[in-house]
Symmetry: C4
Subunit: 289 residues, 4 copies
């Protein structure tokens, strides 16, 4: 088996990374199943909290699947932030983003496959974007009735800013170490925080690929062009606003916290090694004793 | 006491492992109590989420009980995956599976014992598989009304594929280390994810032994042959489909992620030692300094 | 301040341990506040799950308060189990149990103090044990209407057996190491598991001191002798049954798992040291290289 | 980018710390969004538990943002406790408290910005402190109808005492070590415990800055002076009572547990180092071998 698998080995680093990012976001889409379940069971199999738990936990396992290979960005906004900070090569950004998009598209397709019977029964065979039997909201975000255009824009900028600020803080080893294996769990907890605190305006997309991929899927799968028209052409807000918010949050953290750390930043590689193997530092000490 | 216990010591490795697997799944069945509680209290003592928490947390402690002795497979599908990957001897597969079946059977019996009064009062003494006073669903899976045969098959193949894919990812030390003691918790979180995202079609069995064992118990305990007839002879789907899905998920992870790790895989024993005692690596470094 | 505190230092080990056990269970009683809140708000400030979260998390912090001084037994049944296994001196058992009782009594008193206004408003000033305005159930366990005497006895024996089995498993270092600091959290998770799975028959007391202490408090605080008469003289069941179940669970784990570990058990002190300082083992290895 | 950021570097330690405390509490205010969401959606987007999860998780990420720079007090009561124990300089107390106040004020402003449309729609444009369309309770605490003045005072003294007692216990390294990275999570769990157990009387403020800052914001943002008049002039209770309770809890822990530890307390710096780098101790041992 090992031999067989080794034959399939891909040596190109970037291809491996793109596959990991694709698979990670695909897995993260499990979360849409939680929404499908609550919607189609009319609330008997879960509630608002289980939908948020599904999103958060789906992301946790998406990260666990991809973290060792590509760092598990799973979000073009996060990739962009790292590029701006000089911690990720710009040329990988479009490839990563495309992988995210494909992962989210296929993830949504899998959820539809799994809930095909339930969605058909619930909707009476009509795939609708709005109304009491709407099912498009299972897959991607639509604004609530009370939300104005500017309100939606502000919501997504603010939410993604806070999200990225916390993401960057969790990555900042000079702010405090984090046991390996706890990081993915904390990112999940952060997504849960967003879900319970910032979900009622427009469902906290936060992630352009995770929103556009499933929207494209629903477009081709039968919900039609209404998925782009609904909410006054809402679809581009969760694509553009998160990038603006993400940069805002990242720079806020850099300016208010990370810029002022007294110790010199190590090169990413050293830093990573120091974290992975805390013994090293100790042994250097030992060596000089 | 220690002396007394040492007299009872069993030296056969396989017998010890089977006992651990049996006890682990027996403990994991605590989760059925959560369903019993919600059903018989008609929703006053819990809701859909507490049922899923019961399943997930029961599995966590089942793993803690068995992990040091047998690795806590607690699922024939997982054992099969490890066999296919060459990480578990094929000859142990039937023995492990049988232990799982016995553990699940006795676990269900214990839940019935504990909730005997509640089930009798709730059902008016009639043990039914369907209808508003049905109680068979406490113990094993039945398909929802909206689910077609193919829908159920697809649901279980997809769900178990995603489940095993994540399980194998969590075990993959080259994808990223995991602190000892966090692994069982994460498997529990994975089961919770499945429960909140993939539970409304047929209750996410995912585990042939955990479904068949309690079904056999309800068969002999008074629910009768209806437990096999219900849902158009549903009973064999959660036995066969998880094996298919499990292999699919395992191979997907192997092909998309694990096959491409650059470092040579260590022998299982070395790998395990490296994880248990991360110091070793450091000291080897020290030695060569 | 340090100097001032050092003047108050108690040098007697057993007195320190009893204070820690007392304070630990006192803190754990925070959980009763969750029940008080749900009952007196008639369900607007929480639900069944928040009551269980209160119990579980209260216990977690009770353990964190006491763990370094006395090991945080917080339950006479657990103390008894350790005595039977020869890991705790028998002569400390009555002192520990008394500390638990006092802690639970004063904890209940604090909850009553904090919810005095709410309980008076809710109950119209009448402190009742049964009926729609009953408030005694906030503090200690009463059997559900459907529960027979034998049913209650079996429930508590089974539940405490499973509880102690898992507790002893978590302590068994040869079954697998656990990061320091995770142990209290897992015991809390175990209590949550019990709550969501075994709470609807009689509220899963599991702990004689935690049940009797608050019962004594309600007896003197105005609920009167009905707290002992209710449920056909239920009060002694959650005192006696947990001891029986606890021994059963402990011995089951010892016989099925711990007795068969191949390595010689180390003395408790060595074992503890090995866990606290995993480096030692490594350095011994180094020394002999 | 790194170079650009280094130009902005602030060298004053106290300014950096105040910025971190400000940002930390600002982030923690995410939690108010959870309340805004439940109130304005009239319970369709969350329930009592999601509000508490929002508060607790918001605090977790507030701590992660500030912990490496200032220790993440995020609460003037906690700063005061550390000052009394001689672990924090008194002269920093007013600056920290002011930073908390500003962080909470701006955090509330951000929540209002994000939920502006929702609050306007829900309240019909009238910003009210009491009644069915009240929205002031989203931002700071108001007493429940059943609560007397003394009841409120007792509630806050007791709740903050228990809160600080547990906070100090989690910090006490001689009571038992805690993996780095778990501490913020446990403080969040503690806040959740408080929320599910002690929230129905007056919403468990526990933190004078987190209560006064948002109250000041609602005062200037249109709710008017009613925010200070409501509940019989309630506003000063959550400012004064937590300080009393916090000292009570801190001293209780010191007198009952910490004063009696046998080992000499190390200087804070040594202690911290020992925790951060457990290897050191081992290497000292090695050195003397």
């Amino acid at each position: 088996m090992e031999t067989l698998l080794r034959r399939c080995q891909i040596r190109s680093q970037i291809v491996r990374e793109c596959i990991a990012e694709f698979l990670g976001l695909y897995i993260a889409l499990i979360g849409s199943g939680a929404a499908a379940q609550v919607v189609t069971s009319r609330g008997t199999h879960g509630d608002y909290l289980t939908i948020q738990l599904g999103s958060a936990l789906g992301a946790v396992f998406g990260i666990f699947v991809a973290r060792g290979v590509s760092g598990a960005h799973l979000n073009p906004v996060y990739s962009l932030s790292l590029c701006v900070l000089g911690r990720h090569p710009w040329k990988k950004l479009p490839l990563y983003s495309l992988s995210h998009l494909v992962g989210a598209f296929l993830g949504a397709a899998t959820v539809y496959l799994q809930y095909y019977d339930a969605i058909q029964t619930f909707s009476g065979g009509e795939l609708l974007v709005a109304g009491p039997n709407a099912t498009a909201g299972i897959f991607c975000s639509y604004p609530a009735d009370h939300l104005s255009f500017w309100g939606g824009l502000v919501d997504q900028v603010v939410a993604t800013a806070l999200f990225l600020l916390c993401c960057v803080a969790l990555e900042d080893q000079r702010n405090g170490p984090l046991p390996d294996g706890l990081h993915p769990v904390l990112v999940g907890a952060l997504i849960l925080t967003m879900g319970v605190s910032m979900g009622s305006n427009c469902g906290f997309p936060l992630n352009p690929a995770r929103d556009l991929g499933p929207r494209l899927f629903t477009f081709v799968a039968g919900w039609g062009e209404e998925v782009f028209k609904a909410g006054g052409g809402w679809w581009w807000v969760p694509i553009v606003a998160p990038f603006v918010g993400g940069l805002l949050g990242t720079l806020t953290y850099e300016l208010l916290i990370e810029a002022h750390h007294q110790t010199t930043p190590q090169s990413p590689q050293q830093e990573q090694e120091a974290v992975r193997n805390p013994l090293h530092n100790g042994l250097k000490t030992l060596n000089t004793m």
